[in-house]
């Protein structure tokens, strides 16, 4: 009974609720990836199903908790990070997952998002980035590219988008990964890494909105072009990509540069090795900010650095103070300090 965690299958994480996303929505693939990852996470971390809590805000992605057969909390718009923080601090033994979108996390919930990251609370944040507001039917989001034409920007947006990775690392994020909805295998692997990381893990999932922003990621999701336009990073491995594995990243001055191995005097030895564990965020930031067509889009775990977590610090401080405390109960407290008798 206690070792349930050894034997879960994806089926165990499916709830009885009917999934209501549009047919063809990228969210379906993400849900499968999570349901595929959770048995693996359970096995590795020895978590029974009741230890999982999925917390969300508002938006299409935020329906997610209803579809996972765990504890779940569908919050209010933008506040998922705050709710998840409360859950984790209240009971640090729980495995807390936050499901959020580009509007929920980066617009209305931007404040909570950056502060959760700054505190390094041990929550796994899955950020579904479709560059559009879906549930309200097609307005631009904080990640819509400059000039994007939407219902509320009929002449194109005039504002610069956030790059989630840059924001996360700027807020002192210790774990940032990126994946693509259609790549269920990669997404699932990254989920396991995110779960194993102690601290805030942000996984940006490039997700297609089939109705309001269809094809936003076609340039990297189609099979023909994907290998030449994305680089999947693995810690300790060379940063090579391309159909023929002949392209790579080198450092040129203070910037990254794409080179072809065997051309221009570049050999495999010149290609950078990915060090996700490096506390210095410099290269991670450059990797996270790479944009097509100058660069491939970086997928995989870009940054994975150990540091103390908020929930551990809270618990440790409480235990430390309690250890030598003179006040052990409310009666002690009420009778502490200056008191006097009336006889």
């Amino acid at each position: 009974m206690e070792e349930q965690y050894l034997n879960y299958t994806p089926q165990d994480f499916k709830s009885d609720q009917e999934v209501r996303w549009c047919p063809g929505c990228g969210d379906h693939a993400i849900l499968s990836a999570v349901q595929k990852a959770l048995p693996e996470v359970s096995k590795e971390l020895k978590y029974n199903i009741e230890r999982y809590v999925f917390v969300s805000g508002i938006g299409c992605s935020s329906r997610f908790p209803y579809y996972v057969n765990t504890y779940g909390f569908h919050g209010i718009h933008g506040r998922a990070s705050a709710i998840a923080t409360g859950v984790k601090v209240a009971n640090p033994t729980l495995s807390v997952w936050q499901i959020t979108g580009d509007g929920d996390a980066l617009a209305i919930g931007g404040n909570h998002f950056i502060h959760a990251i700054r505190r390094n609370i041990d929550v796994n944040i899955l950020l579904f980035n479709n560059q559009i507001y879906g549930l309200t039917k097609g307005q631009y989001s904080p990640t819509s590219p400059l000039g994007k034409i939407t219902k509320t920007s009929p002449f194109g947006t005039v504002e610069h988008p956030f790059r989630p990775g840059e924001l996360v690392i700027g807020a002192q994020g210790k774990f940032f990964a990126r994946t693509l909805d259609v790549d269920v295998k990669l997404t699932s692997e990254i989920m396991v890494e995110a779960a194993k990381h102690d601290g805030t893990s942000v996984v940006e999932i490039l997700q297609n909105c089939v109705i309001f922003n269809d094809g936003a990621y076609d340039f990297i999701s189609s099979k023909e072009t994907r290998d030449d336009r994305v680089i999947v990073l693995h810690h300790g491995e060379k940063m090579v990509f391309g159909k023929n594995r002949d392209k790579g990243l080198v450092l040129s001055g203070l910037s990254l540069k794409v080179v072809t191995i065997g051309q221009g005097g570049f050999t495999m030895d010149d290609i950078l090795v990915h060090d996700a564990y490096n506390p210095n965020p410099g290269v991670h930031m450059m990797l996270a900010n790479m944009e097509f067509p100058e660069y491939p889009i970086a997928l995989g775990v870009i940054r994975n650095v150990k540091d103390s977590t908020y929930d551990d610090n809270v618990r440790d401080q409480v235990l430390e103070v309690m250890k030598d405390a003179k006040i052990k109960c409310v009666d002690d407290l009420l009778n502490s300090g200056e008191t006097w008798e009336v006889k």
């Binding site: 230890r51 508002i58 504890y71 779940g72 909390f73 506040r79 909570h112 109960c329 009336v342």
Partner: protein
């Protein structure tokens, strides 16, 4: 040192310490209050300070005051007017003279009454006595700064530290006048400055020199004695402020429920001390989270409540506005939550350091949709303990958010408190769902309270989802069914209504019927009680009905209201509780007495008003 003349005995006296906001008047007043409490007097205090930490020196805007009312009889308020005013500069005198009883005593620092001081305080002349018409007051102009410098010239302290000690010189003078023992204050110095013996010595010396100075000058012919109170019930006492009592009441509720306490809050005047006090209580396992904003304060608390902590958030009016949407979420998810609103002057940023009772409607109705919550209020600094405890008990046992309304006046005010014994408080029994309960349904309710079960993440066999979307009546899954929505709205309202069966009946102080019923709620209790007591001693048919429980109201409310010829609702707003009563009990006629000046009522103005009403005016 010999005392010059005899000692006159008084029942009660009020002293107001005033000076620049950097002069340490809050501390000076607190030390006087604590010394008096330890001496055995009943005490009530009222800090009256500006929003600015350091407004321009010497200006009216920067004046900080602290009034202390002590008595050998029961003291219910900090006193409308003071007997003695300590004014550390011309601005303090000008700003506070209106609070001194005619013929009262004024002790002023003569050194500050120079051209610059007068000018900064906006005097037209260089003669405060004439300009402010102080001929009938006993004004003692003492060169406090000079004497402090003289007292500490060999102390080795720098000039700034020496001048900063002048408040202790003034305190020494007041100790002489009111025949206070100084040992409590000396002990305070010893604890406070443990690592700085030179500061301990300097403060002791200045205090003693101030005392000696007052004893030696001819200007103070009498000293006064206020004997220890005989009417205080026997037992062990301490001083407590409203905010501290609130924090402790919440901790007590957590202890009685056997759950950890979690507080997510954002600092806001005048509520911040609740968060600060709870942060100190890691020894009792309290977890505090200073959130990035008010919304995160309540949302972290809601998350913590979902995960099984007793969760609270503390705030003041503007913060409650920001928490509105999340309060609705707590209503929908039916999780226990206590929101403490320490009311201040509004609207908007308003008067952050001043008191008001104008958040009542916001507490009752300030959410979208039909979103009832329990609303209760605290009546005095020490009553905040019981009010916070009860808020926690109701929240946890009835699975509902509870808003506790206190206000700046009782939050910052303090009074002696007969220390309760936790054995006398009831156990709190939240409806926690047992692991592995067969057929668990998240929104199934108990018949008695209509509360749903509290199933905590981590427990086997109880996985479920909650959220802000409308819930199925039993399963808690999403439901857009029209009839289900009606049922859920009805049951959420009925659940809050049901709390009525679990709260005490409303009490009346005075007679069970009569000419005039004075109605109040929250922090105005002390003033209303003094006014009503005063009139009753004169044989008037006046009674007091002071509410702590506001939503729901106690069962016998209608019955009480029906027994008096006139009803007058007194509150520090434009009539919010009066309108609430009108809505609930339409058959009665409600007179109102309202004040929105950022100040408490005065007993004098209440007595005058009640007399007018009794005389049929």
């Amino acid at each position: 040192m010999e005392k010059q003349t005899g000692v006159q005995e008084l029942d009660e006296v009020a002293v107001r310490f005033s000076g620049d906001s950097g002069d340490g008047m809050q501390l000076t007043g607190t030390l006087f209050a604590d010394a008096s409490a330890l001496f055995g007097n009943d005490v009530s205090t009222f800090p009256d300070y500006p929003a600015e930490i350091r407004a321009p020196q010497g200006t009216i805007g920067g004046v900080s005051g602290f009034q202390v009312h002590i008595g050998s009889k029961k003291v219910n308020t900090p006193g409308d007017y003071c007997d003695v005013l300590v004014a550390m500069n011309p601005a303090a005198l000008k700003a506070n003279i209106k609070w001194v009883k005619k013929g009262g005593m004024v002790i002023a620092d003569a050194d500050q009454f120079n051209e610059k001081g007068y000018q900064r305080a906006g005097y037209k002349t260089l003669d405060a006595v004439t300009e402010l018409n102080l001929q009938d007051y006993k004004v003692i102009m003492a060169p406090i700064t000079t004497l402090t410098k003289e007292s500490l010239k060999d102390s080795g302290l720098d000039n700034k530290s020496i001048v900063r000690s002048k408040n202790m010189f003034a305190l020494g003078m007041v100790y002489y006048i009111f025949d206070r023992p100084m040992n409590f204050t000396e002990t305070y110095f010893e604890t406070k400055f443990k690592k700085k013996p030179e500061i301990i010595e300097a403060n002791k010396k200045v205090l003693q020199d101030g005392y000696n100075y007052a004893a030696n000058i001819q200007a103070i012919p009498n000293t006064y004695s206020i004997k220890p109170s005989k009417i205080l019930p026997k037992g062990k006492y301490r001083t407590v402020s409203g905010n501290t009592a609130t924090a402790w009441g919440l901790i007590a509720a957590a202890e009685k429920a056997g759950l950890p306490l979690f507080c997510g809050s954002y600092p806001i005047t005048p509520a911040t001390d609740i968060l600060a006090e709870l942060s100190k209580r890691k020894d009792l396992g309290v977890k505090t989270l200073q959130a990035e904003d008010e919304i995160a304060g309540i949302c972290t608390a809601i998350g913590a409540s979902f995960a099984g902590n007793f969760a609270v958030t503390s705030t003041s009016g503007p913060g409650l506005s920001l928490k509105s949407e999340a309060l609705g979420l707590a209503v929908m998810t039916e999780l226990p939550l206590v929101v403490v609103d320490v009311q201040r002057g509004g609207p908007s940023t308003g008067l952050p350091t001043k008191t008001e009772q104008a958040d009542l409607m916001q507490a009752l109705w300030g959410r979208n949709g039909e979103a009832p919550v329990v609303v209760i209020s605290a009546t005095s600094p020490s009553n905040c303990f019981d009010a916070a405890f009860n808020a926690g008990k109701i929240a946890m046992e009835h699975m509902t958010p509870v808003i506790l309304l206190t206000d700046g006046f009782i939050a910052n005010g303090s009074e002696p408190w007969l220390i309760p014994n936790m054995k006398e408080y009831p156990k709190i029994n939240p409806p926690l769902v047992e692991e592995g309960t067969q057929g668990y349904m998240p929104y199934a309710r108990d018949d008695k309270r209509l509360a749903r079960g509290w199933a905590l993440p981590g427990k086997k066999g109880l996985t479920h989802r909650v959220g802000g979307l409308e819930k199925d009546f039993l399963k808690g899954s999403l439901s857009h069914d029209p009839i289900n929505h009606q049922r859920m709205v009805d049951i959420r309202a009925a659940k809050v209504e049901r709390v009525r069966e679990f709260i005490p009946e409303q009490k009346v102080i005075g007679d069970s019927e009569g000419d005039l019923l004075v109605i109040g709620w929250g922090g105005t209790y002390g003033h209303l009680l003094d006014a009503v007591t005063d009139l009753r001693e004169k044989g008037k048919s006046v009674s007091l009905c002071h509410f702590s429980y506001i939503n729901p109201l106690p069962k016998n409310t209608r019955d009480i209201l029906s027994r008096y010829k006139k009803l007058v609702v007194c509150e520090l707003n434009m009539g919010q509780f009066a309108n609430y009563l009108r809505m609930n009990f339409q058959e009665f006629n409600y007179l109102q007495f309202n004040k929105v000046q950022g100040l408490p009522f005065t007993v004098v103005e209440l007595v005058e008003k009640f007399n007018q009403l009794l005389e049929g005016k």
